[in-house]
């Protein structure tokens, strides 16, 4: 533990002020609004930038010290894990498919966050805010790197880990997280902070990093749980930045309230939609389960989110517009997503499966209102077809929501039998949405979302084939051409877990590890 010097020491508060204030200056070569061109156009009014204070009062010297310690601990674990063939001690190789989604869909977002906070740190005024953004930018780069390091040992043994950077910009389902973060990164600095630090980090990332990472530990994945918690310890600082920045905007000027409310509505919903993937990972992809998506949602979404919005009511902020519909979806979205990936598994770089009987029973117990009525019979049919050697594969291209880019499988609030269809016409073009809230996001800024890079439309426009592909050639197989463009290792990365190379290898290695 630290040794405390006996001589009179500055207090935490004094140290923080000395180390963060007075670092900036008024520019004289150029007018301030040219040096900081993005601080006012979003409509947020700030009267005193110095009112922002990091309640952790973390200064750069302390930051380096504690981050250095976290890194040393983490790399000791990663090393030990690799050295001791840790991949043989996970509960089941099915589990690793969740980690494939992580490296494919989450790690690239860490890098986007790094860039976003570098931008915000550069463009805010006020040293407190700038220092906090700079630290977060470094944290996010650290997360990118440690996740790649922690997960890369699996790439030596399992499929689906070899090409995440290439897939992120091309693969249909990865356009969901990608478009989410690009939407945030193309907002101004205040919207970016509300989107990522507040709506995503404060309200939603607990759902990913707490129950899921605890699940990783439960499934014997020491490497993942260690980077997960190491990253999440930075995350608590980020959440604090998020909530402080929200309060800062709300306290600075009353005119900021409706702008911030709109961003909360928008980014709560954007984040919630992305978390559909996490719901599916928790309910279906952890062979040993800590809690269901629904339980996690109730703790971190409803209780914790609810407490937060109660608290913000004194500024005139209400709960996000989509909050009730999000609560309504808790019995359904993880199952709907899993069924989607199962039937589209020939086109995805990870494996899916039908849960075992014991797992189906667990799901029935966790979802008494929905599972047996809607989802168990569907899964049983899939199992039957798989056993009969004709697994159900969906060859149709789906209609995607123009905002969240998820295939339109979400159902009407209160009616899980009906798909939710919404549409808008803007300048003569028709656009489709999965929900009232995605539609509202579009209607607010149609000029932005008319540019959506929707994977289905891109395939049909011929933009997802490798150069030199001739779609008019006799016998042209568009699906094969798209998979080639994705650089998916067909037969190894994709298709169902049952009968996969991952399954065979893991069984063989396990057997070899337990016998001589």
């Amino acid at each position: 533990m630290d040794t405390r010097l006996e001589k009179k020491k500055l207090s935490l508060r004094e140290r923080y002020h000395l180390m963060t204030r007075g670092l900036g200056w008024e520019p004289t070569y150029q007018p301030a609004d040219k040096v900081f061109p993005f601080t006012t156009y979003e409509g947020i009014k700030i009267h005193d930038w110095d009112k922002f204070e990091d309640p952790f009062r973390l200064t750069m010297d302390a930051y380096w010290k504690y981050q250095g310690e976290k890194e040393k601990k983490l790399y000791a674990v990663i090393d030990a894990f690799a050295q001791n063939n840790g991949f043989l001690n996970i509960s089941d190789a099915r589990y690793l498919n969740a980690i494939k989604i992580f490296i494919q869909g989450v790690t690239p977002l860490e890098y986007y966050a790094h860039r976003g906070f570098a931008f915000a740190g550069r463009h805010f005024r006020g040293e407190g805010l700038r220092v906090a953004c700079q630290m977060q930018s470094l944290d996010e780069l650290r997360h990118t790197q440690t996740e790649i390091h922690a997960i890369s040992p699996y790439n030596r043994f399992f499929n689906g880990f070899h090409h995440p950077r290439h897939w992120f910009d091309r693969m249909w389902y990865l356009s969901v997280p990608k478009s989410f973060f690009e939407d945030a990164n193309t907002g101004g600095p205040f919207e970016f902070l509300t989107a990522i630090s507040f709506s995503f980090e404060y309200v939603l990332t607990n759902l990913l990093f707490l129950p899921f990472m605890s699940g990783a530990a439960y499934n014997g994945d020491l490497s993942t749980v260690t980077f997960g918690f190491s990253a999440q310890s930075d995350e608590s600082r980020h959440m604090t930045l998020g909530i402080e920045c929200i309060k800062f905007m709300l306290e600075q000027d009353e005119a900021n309230v409706p702008i911030v409310q709109h961003w909360i509505d928008k980014w709560f919903w954007r984040g919630y939609r992305v978390l559909t993937l996490v719901g599916m990972m928790m309910d279906y992809m952890l062979p040993k389960r800590v809690m269901s998506w629904r339980e996690a949602w109730e703790i971190y979404g409803e209780q914790n989110g609810g407490a937060l919005f109660n608290d913000l009511a004194r500024y005139g902020i209400r709960e996000p517009a989509g909050f009730r519909d999000a609560i309504d979806g808790k019995d359904h979205i993880s199952h709907q997503a899993w069924l989607t990936f199962y039937t589209y598994n020939p086109l995805a770089a990870f494996h899916t499966w039908v849960p075992t009987d014991a797992e189906l029973d667990w799901l029935s117990a966790k979802y008494p209102e929905s599972f047996d009525k809607y989802y168990r019979p569907r899964l049983l049919y899939l199992r039957e077809q798989e056993k009969a050697g004709k697994p159900v594969a969906n060859k149709n291209l789906p209609l995607l929501c123009n905002v969240c880019q998820i295939p339109m499988f979400f159902t009407e609030p209160g009616n899980p039998r009906m798909i939710c269809y919404r549409e808008s016409v803007y300048e003569g073009e028709r656009y489709h949405f999965c929900s009232d809230h995605c539609k509202a996001i579009f209607d607010h800024e149609p000029e932005k979302y008319v540019q959506s890079w929707l994977p289905v439309q891109q395939i049909l426009q011929g933009n997802c084939f490798k150069p030199g592909t001739d779609p008019t050639a006799p016998g042209f197989d568009p699906v094969a051409a798209v998979l080639d463009y994705y650089e998916l290792n067909v037969g190894r990365d994709n298709f169902w877990y049952e009968g996969s190379e991952d399954q065979r290898n893991f069984a063989a290695w396990r057997a070899a590890a337990q016998n001589n």
Binding site: N394, M418, L460
Partner: protein, 118 residues
Amino acid sequence: MAVKAVKPYRFPPRDTVEKFPAPLLFIGWEDHFMFVAPICVPVPSEAPFQVVIDKVLPEAYGQHPDFARIEWDKVEWFRSGEPFRPDPAKSLKENGLGHKSVIRFRTPGLEGIGGAYF
């Protein structure tokens, strides 16, 4: 509302009709979630609506055991959510279907596998 930006902000829409082999038609089969979401297919606007019934739907949904049992004269159609009576002999265009129109059909008596709308 409009995007707030530091400069004029206008970009062409990415999915206009001339970029596709034919206008896109989105189709959903009510009570049948095996196919997850409405489908997206390019269909020429001059094609008679009968093509949807004879060619597009069998290709998309033929593997479903309910599909062969559909009684087409009993099918209920919806266009952008509103009840709609397509004329099979007339073209998509004459039936009021353009680029990115969405239609749904309900097949009374057929509610998917296991009574679970699959």
